[in-house]
């Protein structure tokens, strides 16, 4: 049995009377891309901060590469890298100065630096901006710099807190390419995100809600376990269609998903019923097609179930 890269047991964190993280437990295998998904306030940031040794657990422990974060937080830091949700680098230092600073903090051998820098620049396209102050970079570039600083010492575990939040789709794609490249090289990545389409690509996903894990599995398994059958419904008046369908007995849930509705029903036969319900109302442009549930559907399922 391979040693877990990350093992979390009964991890808890309280802030005064409120419990931000409530006894969560999970393991991450070496080289796995593990995702934490959940609404704001679910405990993702708090969990990652505890794993990074930036926040002490109230109870429980996390063991990273065999080192306990509760007992030896400083030892853990040599083999991990953490990227905070808020931009954590120095806006008044240049790209290169930030990278050199982090190289020093991790005591990266001097002769290895040029090679590593060159590689990081290639990934991130930051080379033309090496002398630009970090504060003057756009959002996407800042995140790439953050990721580069995290990777300069070649950590075995990467902890990323919503690395693509507020970043435009193009920079987001670039960032994920870097992350996937790292995973391919055997780096273990624990990442939190609120973009569920990104979660589809993780090896395993944990849904967090109010400090607890409500579901934990591969995306495929999570999708497979989704209750009911999902139809993608198009209509000229999407919201009107939604409101109409919510009144039908067969429909468990109808949610807007971009330019379509995702309608959860009991069986595949319900598709006709749904279509008829809309055309009977005189709605235009009605199309009903059965689809595979997306992770977002599954997420909504779990959270609304929790909310009762």
């Amino acid at each position: 049995m391979t040693q877990h890269a990350v093992r979390v047991e009964g991890l808890t964190r309280r802030f005064g009377a409120s419990v931000a993280v409530d006894g969560i437990a999970f393991t991450v295998a070496p080289g796995e891309l593990f995702g934490l998904v959940g609404p704001d306030g679910a405990g993702k940031t708090t969990t990652l901060r505890m794993l990074a040794g930036v926040l002490r657990p109230s109870e429980g422990d996390a063991v990273l590469e065999g080192v306990s974060v509760a007992r030896e937080p400083e030892r853990v830091k040599h083999s991990i890298a953490y990227m905070s949700q808020r931009f954590g680098l120095y806006a008044d230092l240049t790209v290169l100065e930030n990278l050199s600073f982090y190289a020093d903090l991790y005591e990266v051998p001097r002769d290895e630096r040029p090679g590593r820098l060159e590689r990081l620049f290639r990934f991130s396209n930051l080379a033309p901006f090496r002398d630009r102050l970090a504060g003057q970079l756009s959002g996407g570039m800042k995140q790439k710099l953050g990721l580069s600083c995290a990777l300069i010492h070649q950590p075995r575990i990467l902890l990323l807190d919503e690395p693509t939040l507020g970043v435009d789709p193009i920079s987001r794609r670039d960032l994920w390419l870097i992350v996937h490249e790292m995973v391919a090289e055997g780096v273990t990545v624990v990442v939190s995100t609120s973009y569920l389409d990104e979660a589809e690509r993780f090896d395993r996903v944990a849904f967090l809600h109010e400090g607890r894990i409500v579901a934990l599995d591969t995306p495929a398994a999570l999708r497979g376990a989704a209750g009911g059958v999902i139809f993608a419904v198009a209509a000229a008046d999407l919201r009107g269609a939604r409101d109409r369908l919510r009144r039908i007995a067969e429909v468990r849930r109808a949610t807007v998903f971009g330019d379509r509705l995702h309608v959860v029903a009991g069986s595949a036969d319900d598709g006709d019923r749904i279509a008829r319900a809309l055309t009977d109302e005189g709605m235009d442009g009605v199309e009903v097609r059965r689809i595979e549930p997306t992770l977002e559907d599954v997420f909504i399922d779990h959270v609304t179930a929790k909310a009762g």
Partner: protein, 372 residues
Amino acid sequence: MLSRTRLLAVSRKEVLQLRRDTRSLVLAFLLPVLLLVLFGYAITWDVNDVPTAVLDRDRTSRSRELVEAFPASGYFTITERVERPAEIDRLLDRSAVRLVLVIPPGFAADLDAGRPARLQALVDGSDANTATIVLGYTRGIVQSFSVDAVVNGATVRPPVEARSRVWYNEELESKNMIVPGLVAVIMMIIAAMLTSLTIAREWERGTMEQLASTPVHRVEVVLGKLLPYLAIGMIDVGVVSVVGVLLFDVPFRGNAALLAVLSLAFLTGALGLGMFISAVARSQLLATQIAMVATFLPAFLLSGFMFSIDVMPRVLQAITYLVPARYFLVVTRGIFLKGVGVEVLRVQGLLMIAFLVLGLFLATRVFRKEIQ
């Protein structure tokens, strides 16, 4: 295990940031120079050309002699000669003059007859500092006039008595006393204003969280941040001392190396204190305010720099024992003006070292890089 690479990396980062931070640079270098100029030139406790009014009701050659002694001293200038007492109120109210000399009729006659002759000196007491000095000079001039009078044949008892109507305050010092004191004040500014910002700023900007996730040790952070400010502080000490000596003719009679060592100790303690405040406050605004009240103001007001401790109320005197700058002032004044060495300054020297230890201890023990 502390790593030199990491410690120096923190220092290098601070230097790079300082170079680009105009506000801090101004505080670090411009402010000390400004203070030096201010205290050296503009604010002088020495009094010159005090506008004076004279009401001479005797109008004898003797009374005129006395009156002329005032401008002759260089401290006073007769700007008004009044005829009636009513005019005196008007002049003092408007602050047109700071001193009014009233010589009663029969002044010369009293002098010649060996009786005590009177001179009335009315001083504008609304500026108590100047008033005290004016009175002091007046007394001096009158004294030497008396001596002359005795020598020239009057009786032994001081023939002229000056009566004052303003209460005595304390004696203020001239720039010779100020420059050494300025060294201490400037160091407190560096500590109060600059270092109090450095840790709080990282918390506010979110860089501390990121830093906390690296293997850097908190002692490396504190010491690494301390070094650049230590260098700045010592440069400031050097500049102020050199300019003070060369430009303002402040004497330097002691050992420069001793001054450097004790300054280093004091500065380190002050910086440690500043960082302690920064670590506790976690917000730049709060840190600056605490630093002002806890370090800068006491150094300025209670160290003996502005106001002599001997004349303070007992309660304040007791408090000054807790102000590190008080002891440092003894050191600087001792080295600059008295030329004394370790034998005399032994106690102060040990206290400086204790301050260094305390400052570093507070900073490194209290600062934590983790959240909460």
